[in-house]
Amino acid sequence: MVSTLDGAASRAWVEAFLGAAERDVTALGDLDRRAGDGDFGTNLTTSVNAARRVLADGDAALPAAAFAALSTAFLGTGGTSGPLYGMFFRELGKAAGDQPAIDLPTLAAGVVAGVDAVCRLGGAEVGEKTMVDALRPAADALAAAADAGAPLDGALADAARAARAGSDTTATLVARRGRATYVGDAASGVTDPGAAAVALFFEAAVANHL
C-alpha cells in the first residue's frame, strides 16, 4: 500500500505516460483525423518530445517538477489540446508545491483544480465529447477516495478506470466543442482522442505500480 508519491515516483509516472502516448500516437492521431482536423498526433508528438527535454533539466527530487515539465511542454504546443493539458498539469504541479512527496488529498486537489481550469478555459462540460469526459470522472474518483481516506494506489486505479470509462462514452456522443463540431455526425462512433489520452495518463500511474 502506497500512501505518497515522491519525486522519483512522480517522474516514473510521467515517463510511463510519455511512453504510452508515444506508443498510441498513431491511433490517437487517426481518431482526430476521423473526428477533428487530424493534427492531434503531431501535437502530441511535439509535446512528448518537449517534455522529455524539460524533464531532463528538472529537479528529480520534487514531484512538482515532473508535472511542471508536462505543463511547460504542453503549453508550448499548438492545437486546443496542448494549452488545456498544459493548464491541467500546471495545477498538479502547483498543488504539489515544494513538497518532497505528495499524498492523495494533495493529488486529488490538484487534479480537481486542473479539471476546473480546463473547463473554465475551454468552456466545455461533461457530455460534449472532449477531454473533460475523461478528466472529470477521474477527478471525482480521486476526490471521493481522498474523502474516504483510501490509499493512494487504489485511488489511482479507480481514477484510471473512471477516465477510461468516460473516454469510451465519447464514442456515443456528438461533439459540441472544438473542431469535431465541424464534422458533425461523421464523428459518431469515434472516441475523442483528447479523452483517450487522459485515460492513458491515469492508466500510466497504475501500470507503473505506484
Binding site: 511547460t72 499548438g78 493548464m87
Partner: protein
C-alpha cells in the same frame, strides 16, 4: 499545379522569420527561444506593451507592424494555427515595462485560449494584461449566441496603428484597451476570392472554383466562404463587398472612415487600386468621407487571389493617432 519557394514545409515559418529578422535588423529581432518578433530597440520610456499574435501565412501581418508607433511584439504561430501559450507568455513578459501589456487578437478560439492562458500565467507575477478582440468579418455575423462570433481580419491593422500611437504617448492599459476595442467595434470587413490558397509544399489550393464563379465571404485561412456568386467586373464585385459593410456599420452622411482594400496574396496592385477606386466612389455616393486608406497586401492568406474591403469608422482623435509617426517595415510615416 501550385508550387512555392520552400525547403522543409515544417520549417517554412522559422526560415522566413530568420530572413525577415536579417532583412530588418534595424527594426526587429526574432527571439528564437521565445519565438516572438520584438522591436530591435525596446521602447525607451516605460509604456504599455502592445502585442499582436496569430497564425502565420498572413504576412506582412503582424511582424511587419513591429516598430515605433505600432507593436512592441508580434507572436507568430504555425501557418494558420495559433501561437502557443508559451509563446504568448514569453512575448508578454518580454515587453512588459511595468505598465502592463495589451493583447491585440483576432477572434479565433485558439488565439484567445492561448493568449488567455498566457495572461493567467503572467498574472502570477503581477503583469497586467488587457485584450482587444477584433471581430470584423461580416461574413460570419450571426444572431446565434452560441456561435463563435465574427472572425477577425484586416481591421486589426487599424487597431495596431491607432493604439500604437496612443501607447507611444503614454496612455494607460485601460485607456488603450477601451480605444482599441472602440476602433475594432466600428469596423467591418467582407472578402471574396477568385482562387483559393495552397500551403507551402502543397500542389493544390484548398478549394477549386468554376470559371464563372467567385467565393464570397471567405476568411483568411483558405476555408470556403458563405456562398458562390457569379464572376463579374471589378466595380460590381467591389460594390458587393463594400455596400453590406457600409450598411452593417450604419454609416451616415458626414461620417469619416478609414478604408483598407487588402490583397489576399496573389492579387496585383493594379487590381487592388481599381477596386479601391470603386469603393471610394461608393463612399462619395453616401456622403461618407474616405479620410485615410491603405491599398495593398497587408493581411494575406498565402497565395489566395482575392480582396477584402474593410471600413473603419473613425473620429478626429483616431485620425490624429493614425497620422502620428510610425516606423515599421510595412507602415512608416
Amino acid at each position: 499545379m501550385r508550387r512555392q519557394f520552400v525547403n522543409d514545409p515544417q520549417d517554412h515559418v522559422r526560415e522566413a522569420l530568420g530572413g525577415f529578422e536579417r532583412a530588418n535588423a534595424h527594426l526587429v529581432r526574432w527571439d528564437r527561444e521565445g519565438n516572438f518578433v520584438a522591436r530591435a530597440t525596446p521602447a525607451a520610456a516605460p509604456k504599455v506593451g502592445l502585442l499582436a499574435g496569430g497564425g502565420s501565412g498572413h504576412e506582412p501581418l503582424h511582424a511587419g507592424f513591429v516598430g515605433t508607433g505600432m507593436l512592441d511584439v508580434a507572436v507568430p504561430g504555425a501557418i494558420y494555427s495559433s501561437p502557443t501559450a508559451a509563446q504568448f507568455e514569453a512575448a508578454t513578459r518580454a515587453v512588459d515595462t511595468g505598465a502592463g501589456v495589451l493583447h491585440i487578437l483576432k477572434n479565433y478560439t485558439g488565439d484567445k485560449l492561448n493568449a488567455g492562458i498566457a495572461a493567467e500565467l503572467v498574472a502570477d507575477d503581477g503583469i497586467a494584461v488587457e485584450r482587444v478582440l477584433v471581430a470584423d468579418d461580416l461574413a460570419t455575423d450571426s444572431d446565434d449566441p452560441r456561435a463563435p462570433g465574427r472572425r477577425g481580419t484586416a481591421a486589426v491593422i487599424a487597431v495596431e496603428k491607432i493604439v500604437g500611437a496612443a501607447a507611444e504617448r503614454g496612455a494607460s492599459l485601460a485607456e488603450l484597451a477601451e480605444l482599441g476595442q472602440r476602433v475594432a467595434d466600428g469596423s467591418r470587413t467582407l472578402a471574396l476570392a477568385l482562387s483559393s490558397c495552397a500551403h507551402p509544399g502543397e500542389g493544390h489550393p484548398s478549394f477549386e472554383l468554376a470559371d464563372d464563379e467567385v467565393e464570397f465571404g471567405v476568411g483568411i485561412h483558405g476555408e470556403r466562404g458563405i456562398e458562390k456568386r457569379p464572376f463579374a467586373p471589378a466595380d460590381d464585385l467591389a460594390r458587393q463587398l463594400v455596400e453590406p459593410v457600409a450598411d452593417a456599420l450604419e454609416l451616415k452622411s458626414g461620417e469619416q472612415v478609414l478604408v483598407i482594400v487588402n490583397g489576399l496574396g496573389a492579387t496585383h496592385g493594379l487590381e487592388l487600386h481599381v477596386v479601391f477606386a470603386e469603393v471610394a466612389r461608393r463612399m462619395d455616393a453616401r456622403g461618407v468621407t474616405v479620410a485615410r486608406s491603405l491599398v495593398g497586401p497587408y493581411l494575406t492568406a498565402l497565395d489566395m487571389a482575392g480582396v477584402s474591403v474593410t471600413l473603419i469608422r473613425v473620429d478626429d482623435a483616431m485620425l490624429e493617432l493614425w497620422d502620428a509617426p510610425a516606423r515599421t517595415s510595412v507602415l512608416s510615416w
